[in-house]
Point group: C2
Chain length 342, copies 2
DNA sequence: TATTTTCGTGCAAACGATTGCATTAGTGGT
DNA sequence: ACCACTAATGCAATCGTTTGCACGAAAATA
């Protein structure tokens, strides 16, 4: 049987309410009783029942994590482990614990979120993806429940709090970087087009080209569902063009790995015959052959900051609506673009 | 304000208890009332308060996940996303949700587990690592709380339920495989030595050598904390030996990536001058250059099975103590060992 | 028709905390 | 010695469910 607050109360010769106040460290209890109660708690090995507690004070000290549906292999991207690490760290610091939900279909994920929110299982939610047109975000907004999005939510971003990288800027910067290295024929390989990230990074890429006076060729912009082909066909398509590119911006390290692998098979050498730059600076970027030049976006920080905003919202310290946090990024130069070879 | 069971009861003209029984789909309630109550629930948008529910029936429908302390970068290994995906899938199928705990120190992780268990926040726990001499496992065992370990727990494995790969066998097999390809000088590069996995895989490696009549050189067995150096020094040490190896068994794909990267820098070609084989068959194995020959251990399955066992335990359908599930593995041949070059 | 079964519901007591309000004891001022 | 006031603690209602038991009505049996 569980040790309850009553047992502690009996042991310490006080009322349950007193014990409760000791737990909350209320100033209304004398130092002496506190000592006594704490000792009793220790002796009996008392731990408060979280459900009773949540029920009584209508707070859970837990935050919910919404992941993309597990059916897709998206989850395999180390990106997620890393955001979660950030979230988890901040959460832990503030005494929150984490509650996860996923489903195999989009519908299941949605149901999970609803029951988590309506069932009062969590105090707030962080949404780990942003897709165009998403029911989950819509629902959270409608129910005025505290939440924050990692990544830019498609619509109405002015009303939702989110933390993100300036992907547009990053896309522009890397493209310019390639141009500075002397490349004129620069292609873009991206993942799923309905992800906000991809769109932004392409946007930056295009802007850079324009600013540098390089014409934009649609045939230079290819997107491929990553986890299936690894971007092999994307690369092949590019290389079979009349004027194949000499450099390529890839929207993500994972994908870059696939691209480099294909290039390797085709016996096109990186960086000599093809420069590759990508985003996220996952730790594998460091260990690929050749090591990848990639944009460090501080994924951990993304998660950490998101949680920070969420907690502010929960405590109602936040501005009523739509805070927007941009986590800074920077280019980590390795060897996949030549230039500053190590 | 939340919609409670009483509101539904009033709306449907029944007692709260009846509503409760409808939720549980008790056969004692007539079809007609069930309809009526369900409709009322629908209309009011009723969702049961999970805490009240847990409090009353002493069950949470949640399972706890214990991760290694977040301080280490271990978490970055895609291995974890993948086990979690397995766990999450099975959990979801059975109406369980997931509850995570981590801490920056080992002590914090322990405290997290204790309060999660004693606070009755979860019905069972799956432990995602196995280290020699671990307080967490000890605690769970002492408190007779349902739990299962992914990986082999160091001590007393006869009393704890765990699911694992036969790492010993796998280690033996890959070593023999290299020998069949004609290699005589085979080294082993492993991660942290106090992980059960490493120990087992080395064990298999040694056995294979013995069985093939190849002497075991201690200098051929190196271990390196992965996330720091990427195994670079391990490789350098091996290559500076009088008789450097011609093949190497690496304990994990991540590490193999580091090893290959170092070899690449040293201009030692894989597979021509050095064959590399590793374990886990993470998706990056497919996209490295050259693609890695690796042992597929079905990480997803590991998580899935573990959860299965856990749920059995929770429902007390399990054999009282120490079930042991071995998930089968097989070698995926790619190009890092030469031989069957694609 | 009287009596027992069965069936469907409702009552009220848990579950283990929190918290507003009442109560008591202790202090100091007059 | 009396009163007012503060400080420390206890009482009891509450949070939203579940569940054992009691109860009445209808159906089955004699």
């Amino acid at each position: 049987m569980q040790v309850t607050i009553k047992d502690v109360a009996r042991e310490a010769n006080v009322a349950p309410s007193t014990v409760s106040r000791v737990i909350a460290n209320s100033p209304r209890i004398s130092q002496k009783t506190k000592e006594r109660v704490r000792q009793a708690m220790e002796e009996l090995g008392y731990y408060p029942n979280v459900h009773a507690r949540s029920l009584a004070n209508r707070t859970t000290q837990a935050i919910g994590l919404v992941m993309p549906s597990a059916a897709t292999k998206t989850l395999q991207n180390p990106f997620f482990s890393e955001v979660i690490r950030g979230i988890s760290t901040k959460a832990h610091q503030n005494g929150y614990s984490l509650y996860m939900t996923t489903g195999v279909s989009e519908e299941e994920v949605y149901e999970g979120v609803v029951s988590m929110v309506q069932g009062r299982r969590v105090d707030g939610v962080v949404v780990l993806y942003s897709r165009t047109d998403d029911k989950v975000v819509q629902f959270l907004q409608d129910s005025k429940f505290p939440f924050v999005v990692v990544g830019k939510p498609f619509s109405d971003s002015s009303h939702v709090t989110y933390v993100d990288t300036d992907n547009y800027l990053a896309g522009r910067e890397v493209t310019k970087y390639l141009h500075q290295l002397g490349h004129e024929c620069i292609a873009f390989v991206g993942g799923s087009q309905d992800l906000a990230v991809t769109q932004e990074r392409v946007g930056g890429y295009k802007t850079a080209l324009m600013e540098e006076g390089i014409p934009i060729h649609d045939s230079y912009i290819v997107s491929a569902p990553f986890m299936t082909t690894g971007g092999a066909d994307a690369v092949k398509r590019l290389m079979s063009l009349e004027h194949p590119p000499t450099a390529v911006v890839v929207s993500d390290d994972m994908m870059a790995l696939g691209v480099m692998s294909t290039l390797n098979e085709m016996e096109i050498s990186v960086p000599n015959q093809m420069a590759v730059v990508s985003f996220n600076n996952l730790f594998i970027a460091e260990f690929s052959s050749p090591p990848l030049t990639s944009v460090e976006i501080n994924i951990f920080g993304l998660g950490f900051e998101a949680t920070n905003c969420l907690i502010e919202q929960i405590n109602e310290e936040a501005t009523p609506y739509g805070k927007r946090v941009i986590v800074p990024h920077y280019l980590v130069v390795r060897q996949s673009c030549g230039g500053t070879a190590k």
